[in-house]
Amino acid sequence: MDFTFSEDQLLFQQTVRDFLVSEVTPQRIRASWETDSGRDPKLWDQLTEMGLVGMTAPETWGGLGLSELDFVLLARECGYVALPEPLVHTALVAVPMLGALGGELAQRWLPAIAAGEATVIVGLEQNLLLEDAHRADLLLIQRGDALYALNPEQCKLRHNESVDPSRKLYAVEICDSAEPISTGAPVQAFTTAALNRGALGCAAQALGLAQRMVDLSVQYTTDRNQFGKPIGSFQAVKHHMANIAVRLEYAGAPVARAAYSIANSEPGASRHVSHAKLVACEAASLAAKNCIQVHGAMGYTWEVDLHIYMKKAWALNNTWGDAGFHKNRVSSWIFSPDAKLGAGSTFPSGA
């Protein structure tokens, strides 16, 4: 039993965090809102050079051969800076899906992804709209029990504006001529795996987003004076922040366990992911609610950076399965007759 991340994993997290915090500033995010694509090719090149884009791809295909467990701490840091680029999607969803599909698709696209030359976007029916479809060189789209691998010419994209200007969302219409690459039971397996990975990415980013909102608010309430003292010295304000800290503290371990379960193909992986997404997104939603409150009117402005993180947290809450979907996955298990519950039931070889 060792529920800790390795020194290497923690060191990698620190390195990526330092890079992201210095490079992906609120100013740079705001600048990206003014561009057509909303994306920053230079930043993508930097992420590629660090090996992050292809890190979950096998080494034979230009990746680092690392696992979901290695990436989950980095996804948290992507959330901390509200990274607009589709790094979490690429490393946690697209690359593992291509790896699972194998064959020509993997051979053609994985090295290109790892080299920063191509972007692959996965779209499940679960998600109404696809983020970053406009930048995709290949779209892997699930419809019912069919899976399609489409060039951009094989589908029509319809842009939908999000409340979060960093999110570039598209409805995807598949051309009639397109043929699925797979149908039936295998598609179900691909879909479940992709959904779990996407939801894990949301959960990990939600932790980072919550932490960022807390950090911004601690700073703000320390600087802002009313009644002759910092508003952060008032208990009503402190308790808003402490409530976030409590929920956030207890959301971290479920997210780590979900990553572990995916990486090790544990039988409970799906419900572990749903648990993680529920509690991490709830922590981020609480952070958004309480942090705007302690910012007062400033929190309701476009000028203050809080909304960058708040809006992303709101959006992640309902993508890759909304709360109802994930609650149903967990509750259908806990109310099933063969569920092992209670003390000693948490880890597989326990009671």
Binding site: F3, P230, A242, L341, S345, P348
Partner: protein, 387 residues
């Protein structure tokens, strides 16, 4: 990261399980807040100690097994699964015991710990005073030094288990000119000392789970002081740290409650039809109990690898106490009109002991430092907000 138990850990679990299966009383003991129940629980402590299961984390020479925190968690899981009796000497073994090991002299350890282990001496805590509750530094009870003796005067209150316990520990003001945190000394006091009056205080369930203790020129030898004179505050903070930290409430307890709640819901499915929020609350109970378990294992692993516990441990008490309250509130909703019935009432079929748990859950956000005080600590020490 490797989330599987080692072979040794699994073997340890088996050992605990089979011992408990052979020794846990088949008939539930009476509440330890009754005189007869207190005696029964004291005897259970002796039984546990004979099997060397009383304090598994204590060193072997003190009757323990030198278990690490993971083994402790496994022990607790089996203990709660077996429905074993509550620990009447909790104040001693989980709070004072670890403090003694850190601050006590060799003589004190040898004198106090073995009798604590056997349950021969059961401990009450003596933290609060009528005007020193959340503001513990406002303590006024005094200990005046005369040669090798302290003369204690004053009053403690909300002293858990004090009605039938043998000893109490607490802080007393040894420097009459001192203020706040300074000038306090941590002293151990036999409750049968001349000059002590104990007045039981009935709790919500009508039983005297705590008491007021009045000290009128109570003489205690200086050898009963723990730590240096005037250093009581830092000794007490270590004790309170154990209380709020990892070891006061192990996840197993709440996971068992969550499990019973799922079973209660499944036995009363019509409730979910009339109020869908109940099902959601049951799900939440499971998730939070599971989160608490996962986080505790994570912290335990970090600590066994040499990590330190920090201010984030103050989140712990808020999390479990509010979880406990929420779980019992949900059970009360499911029980509906029967929820208010005492277990022996003729029409109280199927109410189990939820009512008692519901009453006790009201105390969780209050004892061991109110949750409001914990929130202040989190904001100031964990988040760095201004005082």
């Amino acid at each position: 990261m490797n989330l599987a138990y080692t072979r040794q850990q699994s073997a340890f679990r088996e050992e605990v399980r089979s011992w408990l299966a052979a020794h846990v009383p088949t008939e539930a003991l009476q509440s330890f807040d009754t005189e007869a129940g207190f005696t029964q629980h004291r005897e259970w402590e002796a039984t546990l100690n004979e099997g060397r299961w009383g304090m598994v984390t204590w060193p072997e020479e003190l009757g323990g097994r030198s278990c690490d925190l993971i083994e402790w968690l496994i022990f607790e899981e089996e203990y709660y699964r077996a429905g074993a009796p509550a620990r009447v000497n909790q104040n001693g073994i989980f709070l004072l015991g670890p403090t003694l090991m850190e601050y006590g002299s060799a003589e004190q350890k040898a004198r106090i710990l073995p009798k604590m282990a056997t349950g021969e001496e059961v401990w009450a805590q003596g933290w609060s005073e009528p005007n020193a509750g959340s503001d513990m530094a406002a303590i006024r009870a005094t200990a005046r030094r005369e040669g090798d003796t302290y003369i204690i005067d004053g009053q403690k209150t909300w002293s858990t288990r004090a009605v039938w316990a043998d000893w109490t520990f607490g802080m007393f003001r040894t420097d009459p000119d001192s203020e706040r945190h300074r000038g306090l000394t941590f002293i151990l006091v036999p409750l049968n000392s001349p000059g002590i009056t104990i007045r039981p205080i009935p709790q919500l369930n009508g039983l005297p789970g705590f008491a007021e203790i009045f000290f009128d020129r109570v003489e205690v030898p200086v050898s009963n002081r723990l730590g240096d004179e005037g250093a009581g505050w830092s000794v007490a903070m270590a004790t309170a740290g154990f209380e709020r930290g990892l070891m006061l409430r192990s996840p197993a307890r709440f996971q068992q409650t969550a499990r019973r709640l799922v079973e209660l819901y499944r036995a009363n499915p019509e409730v979910g039809d009339s109020d869908p929020a109940v099902k959601d609350a049951v799900l939440r109970a499971y998730l939070d109990a599971e989160s608490y378990c996962l986080s505790t294992y994570q912290t335990a692993c970090r600590l066994t690898q040499g990590g330190k516990i920090g201010a984030e441990s103050s989140t712990n008490k808020i999390f479990w106490s509010e979880l406990d309250q929420a779980m019992h509130a949900t059970a009360m909703s499911i029980l509906g009109a029967r929820a208010e019935l005492l277990p022996h009432a003729p029409d109280a079929m199927g109410v189990g002991n939820w009512l008692d748990g519901w009453l006790f859950s009201q105390s969780g956000p209050i004892y061991a430092g109110t949750n409001e005080i914990q929130r202040n600590i989190i904001a100031e020490r964990m988040l760095g907000m201004p005082r």
